[in-house]
């Protein structure tokens, strides 16, 4: 079963699976929109469903729209609102992967008799022995492995990422060459349930019965600099939209305290932290030992930084990044990489700024366990399952 959003990535993914000989079923997930049983309710993105259906028809595969609104609201939208209100910055796409795509959808896939699921994510999976590894997408600009860290290992073994081997440009060319009607469709950039990226409006609309409280913007000494209309309008490292007078050096959000409604701002260097603690960890391979150098990514658009694992158990970990991590944001995911491979990840609970100074890893050590170009190449997992 391939999840088809009506976009170019999942459309080409479906086409590649069909060409590889899989018996393929396309499914669009209805994620958002009224679910109150009223008979007059629109679809979350009717035109996208139509696009997906057109592609499925062209590929000659069965296609269904399935309803996941309840799961999505419970696992993604409600926590999204709650996180913002708690002064954190949620990561809805990762939660959607964790609880909806690679849980509820996988269950539905098995129920209709599918053995594997596929998505249009830019990520790769590779089975080595009895371990399935999650790797970054070949196109590092589009790589979505960050959003996939919580995937269950058993489910990962049953998951195919057909476009993870391709760059975005190759995907568009591939779709165009096959005459898929969505080849030139623009990429979706926003959180799918927040129209025009207006998160604040969404949080406010879903905040009854506890109304949003306003509060103060303070500097690091606690001096009040202004007022704000709710902590949900801020994220760590934010510079714009603070509603303060212009002039002076740029100031950034450095801390958010939802309990008191206080947003603290400070200079740029105060946003840089040297470590973090993450909880609700998920490991996609052996637990990293304390003292292991890894790369860490702390949000989706973030170049991986070297970091030292200082503690790790099944549920949580702590890393130190001597070069500093800009805007460590509670609520976002911290994902650890060994080169291309996702070791695991967790949800950022706390930023650390007082870690003792550490030396950078010796040159080359961070590279040692990476997949080297000379390694014997294996067919990607999604192709190897083909009959």
């Amino acid at each position: 079963m391939v999840a088809m959003s009506g976009g170019v990535d999942s459309s080409l993914a479906a086409a590649l699976l069909v060409e590889a000989g899989y018996r393929t079923v396309g499914v669009s997930m209805r994620l958002w929109g009224p679910a109150d049983g009223s008979i007059q309710s629109g679809c979350c993105s009717f035109d996208d469903f139509l696009d997906a259906r057109r592609v499925a028809e062209q590929l000659g595969i069965p296609f269904y729209v399935m309803d996941f609104r309840e799961e999505f609201r419970r696992a993604v939208v409600d926590p999204f609102v709650a996180e913002y209100r708690a002064g954190r910055t949620p990561n809805p796409c990762t939660r959607c992967n964790q609880f909806v795509k690679f849980a509820a959808l996988w269950e539905r896939a098995q129920e209709i008799g599918a053995d594997l699921i596929a998505t249009g994510h830019y990520a790769r999976s590779r089975t080595v022995g009895d371990q399935t590894e999650l790797l970054r997408g070949v196109d590092h600009d589009k790589d979505q492995s960050y959003f996939l860290f919580p995937i269950d290992r058993e489910v990962l073994r049953r998951t195919l990422f057909p476009v993870g081997e391709l760059t975005k440009a190759e995907v568009r060319r591939g779709a165009s060459r096959r005459g898929l009607p969505v080849a030139d469709k623009p990429d979706s950039q926003e959180v799918c349930f927040a129209p025009r990226g207006n998160y604040a409006a969404l949080v406010e609309a879903h905040s009854s019965p506890q109304p949003i409280r306003d509060g103060f913007i303070v500097d690091e000494a606690g001096h009040v600099l202004g007022r704000h209309e709710g902590v949900h309008r801020f994220t760590i490292g934010q510079r714009r939209g603070l509603g303060l007078q212009q002039g002076g050096p740029p100031r950034y959000v450095t801390a958010i305290d939802a309990a008191s409604g206080t947003v603290q701002i400070g200079s740029g260097d105060r946003v840089v932290k040297t470590g973090l603690i993450a909880t609700q960890a998920n490991w996609l391979g052996p637990l990293p030992l304390a003292g292991t150098w890894v790369s860490v990514k702390i949000r989706s658009r973030f170049a991986p930084q070297p970091a030292l694992v200082t503690y790790a158990d099944a549920e949580s970990f702590r890393v130190s990044a001597p070069a500093g991590l800009r805007a460590v944001t509670p609520g976002q995911a911290a994902v650890l990489y060994d080169g291309e491979r996702v070791i695991g990840g967790g949800w950022i609970a706390q930023a650390l700024s007082d870690t003792p100074h550490l030396d950078l890893p010796p040159q080359g050590e961070g590279e040692s366990r990476r997949v080297s170009p000379g390694e014997p190449t294996m067919a990607p997992a999604w192709r190897r399952h083909a009959p």
Binding site: V25, V27, S28, R30, A35, G37, S38, I39, Q40, S41, G42, C43, F46, F49, L50, R53, P62, Y64, V65, M66, D67, E107, R108, Q110, E111, I112, G113
Partner: protein
């Protein structure tokens, strides 16, 4: 492929295809034209009108051709409240959207709607109709037979209440036509549709009792007595009449349906939502505990069996059934409905095959659940 979704639409009958092909090939005239070409077209429309009238026990002059059930329901409901300041409607809550949405629209424009209670089988009690009627009541609207669970209403008794109280009664008979005998003698307006009985899509009829005047919804010429202007859908109307001539309502289905139910019941954990009595003979609506109807529809479709989960949005995603909700079921239960509706060509071999496939699918779905429960 085994098709058990005849309440959604029925395959077009051979007789219909032939009649329509002949009409398209030979009768291109405009029924309003004065010449002989137009005259032949007029004759074809009027012959079709007589056929439809006969099937529903109406006079030909009481039959208005429409584009289908939705238009008929809109035409009747908006027409019967026209000219009233603050009209009151009494409506069954398990109606098709094409009744519920016009009622809501009347409400939005300043009218009032009383939604009738229904019992757990979806039955409207005529005493509740009597209790709901007040001096502003313009129309009572009830479906002859429910599209999802198949419950047949006691239209004669409801009509008696309406007649006594001097209130108009509109009946949506789209699902009843061709499955049970219907006579419109007791009602004021009644909508039917061609495609549910093996006719073409896009054509239907509204019975409008002589003496009842309905203003048009669209304005134009004098066709259909000015109630429904626009050049007649000649091939559609001819096809509708051909389908109506073939319709044989009766109990032929009951045996097959009960055979289907016995097979399904042996899966266990399944509830029959269709009433055992006074139900459309071709309709069986069931719920498998904690299995979404939507999942079964996809799984069965992949095995070559076409059924329905009840309501769906335009994109094809299922909605929680407002009908099951009205019967007092919870939100989750309202997603568990599965409707199997038989057609005139359904065979006992097909029924047995569906039971085999459904049993296998349900076992698989329960296995998936068991595995996840075991894994925590």
């Amino acid at each position: 492929m085994i098709y058990l979704d005849h309440n959604a639409t029925a395959p077009v009958r051979v007789e219909v295809r032939e009649a329509m092909a002949r009409c398209l090939a030979e009768e291109f005239g405009n029924p309003s034209s004065a010449h002989q070409v137009g005259g032949r077209a007029r004759a074809a429309v009027e012959a079709a009108r007589r056929t439809i009238a006969e099937v529903i026990a109406a006079r030909p002059s009481e039959v208005v051709f429409t584009s289908g059930g939705t238009e008929g329901n809109n035409l009747a409901l908006f027409g019967l409240v026209a000219g009233r300041d603050r009209p009151h409607l009494v409506v069954s809550p398990i109606e098709h959207p094409s009744v519920i949405a016009p009622a809501r629209e009347v409400e939005r424009r300043g009218g009032r709607v009383t939604w009738l209670p229904v019992n757990p089988e979806g039955r409207v009690d005529p005493a509740d109709v009597a209790a709901a009627i007040d001096r502003d009541t313009a129309v009572v609207s009830a479906g002859w037979a429910n599209n999802e669970i198949g419950t047949v209403q006691d239209i004669a008794a409801i009509a008696e209440v309406c007649r006594r109280r001097g209130v108009r009664l509109h009946v949506d008979a789209v699902q009843a036509l061709g499955k049970i005998p219907i006579s419109v003698r007791d009602v004021d307006t009644c909508s039917v549709s061609a495609h549910k009985i093996g006719g073409p899509k896009g054509v239907g009829a509204l019975f409008v009792r002589g003496g009842v005047t309905l203003p048009p919804l669209v304005f134009g010429g004098e066709q259909e007595r000015g109630v429904r202007p626009g050049t007649e859908n000649l091939p559609g109307i001819v096809g509708f009449a051909a389908a109506a001539r073939c319709a044989q309502p009766g109990a032929r289905w009951v045996e097959l349906r009960e055979r289907l139910w016995c097979g399904i019941a042996s899966c266990g954990g399944v509830r029959r939502n269709s009433p055992a009595e006074r139900c459309l003979p071709n309709t069986l609506h069931v719920s498998f505990a904690e299995i979404r109807g939507e999942t079964l529809v996809a799984a069965l479709d992949l095995e070559g069996v076409a059924v329905s989960a009840g309501s769906a949005c335009a994109a094809g995603a299922s909605e929680p059934s407002h009908i099951l909700r009205a019967l007092g079921r919870g939100e989750n239960e309202a997603r568990e409905g599965l409707r199997l509706s038989l057609g005139v060509d359904t065979t006992s071999e097909e029924i047995d095959e569906v039971v085999r496939i459904l049993t296998r699918v349900v076992r698989r779905v329960r296995g998936v659940r068991g595995q996840w429960a075991a894994n925590g």
